[in-house]
């Protein structure tokens, strides 16, 4: 199968600042890829490079097998949706949708047809004769998506499209986007700093940090088997608990904490040697109550702080001198100062080498 987008050894620097460094990425036809990272990690820059809005310093880029490294944005077969919608304020919705087609000299009848079809898919037919100023945020973003839709492109690029919307609309449009992807089956590349968006939308997520891809994988892999400490820490809210200790003969030891790593899948089972390690345990993988008895490892912690969030309760406790977060059921009753029995399954934990922070 031909990859929809291929990026080969891409470099980009602004003067002496290297933003992207030797980046390689293959995106399959019809895939929904999310570029995830904190601000300044180069994810938007990468998207702008794919769109052709930034000139690359080195490397190549292919879309549908065609080398587009030097091509203009409009020649690449991409459509782009921006965070601030970027609708042309003086044109009606219809004018916004047809602007690209007019520039491409598409016959009038076909423009009408395509605009009508996009408007139908996005349910913006009643808005066609309004100006962007008279639309709500959600409607504007829908028009912005429509502008990419009418152009019948191979690849959709989204630059944090939901960040300007309020929380409820964001969830609604997220679902709508997923539905749209199922319906159209286009390749979509989506930039966000919101991990919930990334987890829910993506076929694959690329977690980026300072211009490099830290891990590329399915949401499940990213969440359950983070390749390094950065990804482990970045994904998940509340974030993972980390304990620094020593791996000795297949057992994690740190002061009073002893965790035999039975059932843990090592990346390279033949090369497990004793060394200083960091263990990561997700707050939601810690069990309490009746389940503790069934867990392979049991321990006790003292509760410092309780954050009830309705659907679940977040407990901040102390384990061997370090803060330890536990996610409990929303109905659980815990009080500050109480001693809490917890159960941990080492198979669900993650071990990282202390030196290079890579998963072992």
């Amino acid at each position: 199968m031909v990859n929809s987008v291929e990026i080969r050894n891409l470099d980009l620097s602004f003067g002496s600042v290297e933003v992207l460094k030797d980046l390689n990425l293959d995106i399959a036809e019809g895939e929904f890829l999310v570029l995830l990272g904190s601000s300044g990690c180069g994810k938007s820059t990468l998207l702008n490079c794919i769109a052709g809005l930034l000139e690359v310093t080195d490397g190549q880029m292919f879309i549908k097998g065609k080398n587009v490294t030097w091509a203009e944005p409009s020649e690449r077969g991409i459509g782009m949706v921006f965070q601030s919608y970027a609708l042309y304020p003086q044109m009606t919705v219809k004018g916004n949708l047809s602007f690209g087609l007019k520039n491409a000299k598409v016959p009038k009848a076909e423009i009408e047809e395509r605009v009508a079809r996009a408007a139908e898919i996005l349910q913006i037919e009643p808005l066609l004769n309004r100006k962007p100023g008279a639309l709500s945020g959600g409607q504007r973003q829908r028009v912005a998506i429509g502008r990419a839709l009418v152009r019948d492109v191979d690849v959709f690029l989204f630059d944090e499209p939901l960040s300007n919307l309020d929380a409820k609309l964001r969830v609604d449009l997220r679902v709508e986007l997923k539905r749209l992807h199922n319906q159209l089956n286009n390749t979509m590349i989506y930039v966000t700093h919101d991990q919930v968006e990334a987890m829910t939308l993506a076929d694959r997520i690329a977690v980026m940090k300072s211009g490099k891809i830290m891990q590329l994988g399915s949401p499940d892999e990213i969440y359950n088997k983070p390749k390094n400490l950065y990804v482990a820490d970045f994904i998940g809210s509340p974030s993972m608990n980390f304990l620094e200790g020593q791996l000795e003969g297949g057992t994690f030891k740190k002061g009073g904490v002893v965790l035999p790593m039975t059932g843990y899948q090592y990346v390279n089972p033949l090369q497990v040697t004793d060394r200083p390690v960091t263990i990561g345990i997700r707050p939601e993988h810690v069990v309490t109550g009746e389940l503790v008895a069934k867990a392979p490892v049991q321990s006790e912690v003292t509760v410092d702080l309780v954050e009830p969030m309705g659907s679940d309760t977040l407990v901040y406790a102390t384990l061997d001198g370090a803060t330890f977060r536990v996610r409990m059921d929303g109905l659980a009753s815990v009080g500050v100062g109480q001693t809490l029995s917890i159960g941990i399954d080492p198979a669900k934990a993650s071990l990282f080498d202390k030196k290079d922070e890579a998963r072992i």
Partner: protein, 319 residues
């Protein structure tokens, strides 16, 4: 409990009443009134004088309203007053000024807006240096450049003449120096730094994503300029127009240097009428002529005041 509820009934409620004759108000409005008088009194004297006949003026009471209102000074100023050998009043200067104004304003705004757009959105290698040099141009005193430009206009006029003569050996001399077109070029050049700055700052304030979206939609340099940027920038075009119209209309220095008596703009002609030393000083005609000359910028300000403020607020101050 009881006390509190009684207080709630009788105590302060709603907006706090304001005294009309507070000391603050007296100071503010008093200052404004003085400032108004300061500016309006000369205007009043001018209007009143321009409506009087010479015998009334000789009485010497400049603040007195005219006893016998006459429009003769206005007619004389417009169509009969003599400057040099021409005795057709300010009307000649008025049309000259119009002929200078319209092409200068259109040309300078057209070039400067494209300049500003390119500098804001199509950054090229050295565009910042280019911009700095252009802005630096705004700070060089005009007087330094006057004579070089005289030579420049004369020589390029000669150059164009010899070029035309390649095709038509009997063609008359083509002159830039002393012609309306020479002055148009000078005004266009001198308007460039400030206008480019104005447009660049305005276009920089337009969200960059809009420009990116247009590029993805396949619009090129001119497509984005005409279809996206231009329709969004009416206020700044109005500001530029006002700046240029008033600036060019009020210009005296360039007008007197780069044109000749037949093509003098209105300001130069006004000066020649007012400062003529022969015969009686006709104050009423002078006043009328001055008012006539000032009329164009005045009308422009009144007609576009609101847009002017909007444009200044949107583009020039910010950035």
């Amino acid at each position: 409990m009881v006390d509190a509820s009684v207080n709630a009934m009788t105590g302060p409620s709603g907006p706090k009443p304001k005294r009309v004759f507070s000391s603050t108000n007296i100071i503010i409005y008093g200052t404004l009134l003085v400032a108004c008088l300061y500016y309006l009194l000369p205007l009043y004297v001018m209007i009143v004088t321009s409506l009087k006949g010479m015998p009334e003026i000789r009485v010497g009471n400049i603040f007195a309203p005219p006893i016998e209102v006459t429009t003769a000074p206005w007619t004389k100023a417009w169509s009969e007053a003599c400057t040099g050998v021409n005795c057709d009043g300010l009307s000649r200067g008025f049309w000259n000024s119009i002929a200078i104004l319209i092409p200068s304003v259109i040309l300078s705004i057209a070039i400067a807006s494209v300049n500003g757009y390119a500098l804001a959105n199509w950054k090229f290698k050295g565009s910042e240096v280019f911009f700095t040099i252009l802005i630096f141009g705004a700070f060089i005193p005009y007087q330094v450049m006057i004579y070089p430009i005289v030579i420049l206009l004369r020589e390029s006029g000669d150059g164009i003449t010899s070029f035309i003569r390649l095709f038509d050996s009997d063609a008359p001399n083509f002159r830039l120096m002393g012609s309306v077109w020479g002055l148009v070029i000078v005004h266009t050049i001198f308007g460039m730094p400030i206008l480019t700055l104005l447009f660049r700052n305005y276009f920089t304030s337009v969200p960059e994503e809009l420009f990116k979206a247009a590029r993805v939609d396949g619009a090129g340099f001119w497509g984005i300029y005409f279809q996206i940027m231009l329709p969004m920038s009416l206020p700044i075009f109005v500001v530029a127009m006002i700046l240029q119209v008033t600036g060019i209309w009020n210009d005296f220095l360039f007008g007197v240097i780069y044109t000749k008596p037949e093509t003098y703009p209105m300001t130069v002609q006004l000066n020649n009428i007012v400062n003529s030393v022969q015969g009686v000083k006709e104050y009423n005609v002078n006043m009328a002529a001055t008012l006539l000359t000032g009329l164009v910028p005045l009308i422009i300000y009144f007609a576009s005041g609101k847009l002017f403020v909007r444009g200044i607020a949107a583009g020039a101050v910010k950035g």
